[in-house]
């Protein structure tokens, strides 16, 4: 079985972030980069599928040269190969443009299982996986929290407000997955050393005209005023109870 996982390089924001002066992007000075938690689970799922069913797994990103760091991290965890679709201006690629380039790189029939994150952490577009699947004329299930391959069929479960839905599709198929699907492993030291030697396939594809254009990023207004400190340590308990009473939740 051949599995493709698509990931996106995003800044590791932690407790907060600044914007660049022109409001066009997040100021990534002194920031590390990562992939979204959903995509970390997609990588883990690909490794597990190959461990169980045999075959090979490939990780793909559309991004700048430094995005090789994210590809090598996935290889260090156990994926087999990597494709970088070179796009230094990747933040200006809208979901349709990104999907078209991925669909071109992942030719019909090249992979039986395509995995995506449900949405990327930064621009939250929710649509690249579905667009790629449509362009390749394969079914796609979104929001997947468990996946099982049985021969040429896939059983995918998603959570909804009232419970869970179980879908069945015939392979090849695409899935956009959510965190909770599995617990991603950390790379081993041996994996990290080995990943440095794996060649990364690089391609440069044309960008179609974007249909969704970013004009500006801004921070939302925070509705909360100055914090009121109720006290220090266990002695604050009576003051907390008084506050709960005041708020009408007791």
């Amino acid at each position: 079985m051949k599995v493709l996982v698509c990931v996106k390089r995003v800044p590791d924001t932690g407790g907060g972030f600044k914007l660049t002066g022109d409001g066009q992007r997040v100021d990534t000075t002194n920031m590390d980069f990562t992939i979204s938690p959903h995509e970390e689970c997609a990588v883990e799922e690909a490794i597990r599928l190959i461990e169980k069913h045999g075959g090979s797994s490939t990780v793909l990103t559309l991004g700048p040269e430094p995005a090789q760091e994210q590809l090598r991290e996935a290889i260090a965890k156990g994926m087999n190969g990597a494709i970088l679709l070179e796009a230094p201006d990747y933040e200006a690629w809208d979901p349709a443009a990104t999907a078209q380039a991925i669909a071109e790189a992942a030719k019909p029939g090249a992979f039986e299982v395509l995995l995506f994150g449900n949405e990327c952490a930064d621009s939250c577009n929710y649509q690249v996986g579905l667009r790629v699947a449509h362009m390749l004329d394969i079914p796609c299930v979104t929001g997947v929290k468990s996946l099982e391959i049985q021969g040429t069929k896939a059983i995918a479960m998603r959570e909804v407000k009232s419970g869970r839905e179980v879908y069945e599709v015939t392979l090849p198929a695409a899935f956009t997955v959510k965190e909770g699907l599995n617990s991603p492993r950390h790379p081993s030291l041996r994996g990290i050393m080995g990943a440095k030697k794996v060649p990364i396939e690089k391609k440069k594809l044309g960008k179609r005209e974007p249909q969704l254009i970013r004009k500006l990023l801004r921070k939302p207004q925070e509705g909360r005023g100055q914090i009121e400190i109720l006290g220090n340590g266990a002695d604050a308990a009576p003051k907390i109870v008084a506050k709960l009473r005041e708020l009408g939740v007791l």
């Binding site: 932690g14 952490a121 579905l130 979104t142 179980v166 015939t170 970013r214 004009k215 266990a234 007791l250």
Partner: protein, 322 residues
């Protein structure tokens, strides 16, 4: 014409559909347009009383489509758009709504702006404000393709009921093939969870890194039960296996909006804060007064949650005469 694509469960609208309908009505008022609504499923007509002032309800009353059938639903909407040429098409930005509209967008090769909180129609152009980073940042964006496809970020628009006459009903006839049913739902399983959910609770107690271990969540359970609340966790807590993943509060978990959120031993990473910022009030218990969460809460207690919570439980029991 503004077209609203509204999801429902057997004739019941979730709040998010009413929010999307409100956004459609407001856009129609601004552009002096009419609103038409697409409803799919055998119970669609039950919903007409919610659609006052809308010009038309376009319905597909087919019991085979009572549950969401992704490709069939997308085909129905794509063909309706081609036949009726709306200027703007809206759906709720829920998991289902984003799935549905993405499929419509790629079928018609159109752009789609998901998670929109604000809309400004300006002649033929549509400018939107979208959620980025789960709402930590807002993006001002413009859709160049037409018609404009958008999904409405849940809880970003305040729902209002409409005025006027009931809409005219028109049945849509769309020929569906076997291929449109190739994504088959096999089973619908009811939730195994007992008690009040994170979505419905008026008080939510959340635990993070500072709770240290799974067994320490027992005190959070006790605190929550005294307040008739529910317990959730940060990504650190769920990744460490201290809480099930389905209890994660955050960008990749659940978005909660209780009256009071009590965050215990949580530093306040962006990933977590976008999941709880809709809470009316936030009370935090954290030993690190430099933690980012102190900038984003209403009330704070500085100290070790593992010592403060047992004292709080004792005090609460006293207050309740237990």
């Amino acid at each position: 014409m503004i077209l609203a694509i509204l999801e429902h469960q057997n004739g019941v609208f979730p709040e998010t559909s009413l929010e999307a309908l409100t956004a459609a009505r407001e856009l129609a008022r601004a552009t002096n347009d009419s609103v038409e609504v697409v409803l799919i499923g055998s119970q669609s007509k039950i919903l007409l009383s919610h659609l006052k002032g809308c010009a038309k309800a376009l319905v597909v009353e087919d019991a085979k489509l009572d549950h969401y059938v992704p490709e069939a639903y997308a085909k129905i909407v794509a063909e309706t758009i081609q036949k009726r040429s709306p200027k703007i098409v809206l759906a709720a930005g829920t998991d289902l709504g984003n799935d549905w509209m993405s499929r419509v967008a790629v079928r018609l090769d159109l752009g789609l702006a998901t998670g929109c909180a604000e809309f400004r129609a300006d002649g033929a152009a549509l400018k939107v404000t979208r959620f980025n980073w789960g709402g930590s940042l807002l993006e001002e964006a413009e859709l160049l393709s037409s018609p404009k496809l958008v999904t409405v970020q849940p809880h970003a628009v305040i729902k209002k009921s409409g005025e006027g006459a009931d809409p005219a009903i028109e049945s849509l006839s769309v020929a569906l093939s076997e291929k449109d049913f190739r994504i088959q739902i096999k089973q619908v399983l009811a939730s195994e969870k007992k008690g009040i959910t994170l979505q419905d609770a008026k008080v939510v107690v959340g635990g993070g890194r500072g709770m240290g271990a799974a067994e320490n969540f027992k005190m959070l359970e006790e605190l929550a039960s005294l307040l008739n609340g529910a317990v959730g966790g940060s990504r650190v807590a769920t990744n460490n296996g201290w809480r099930p993943h389905s209890d994660q509060i955050g960008q990749t978990g659940q978005i909660i909006a209780p009256d009071l959120y009590i965050a215990c031993g949580i530093s306040g990473a962006i990933q977590h804060m976008v999941g709880c910022k809709a809470s009316k009030k936030i009370l935090i218990i954290n030993k690190d007064s430099e933690a980012p969460i102190f900038q984003r809460a209403d009330y704070g207690v500085i100290g070790d949650a593992l010592q403060i919570i047992p004292a709080l439980i004792t005090e609460l029991k006293k207050a309740k005469g237990m």
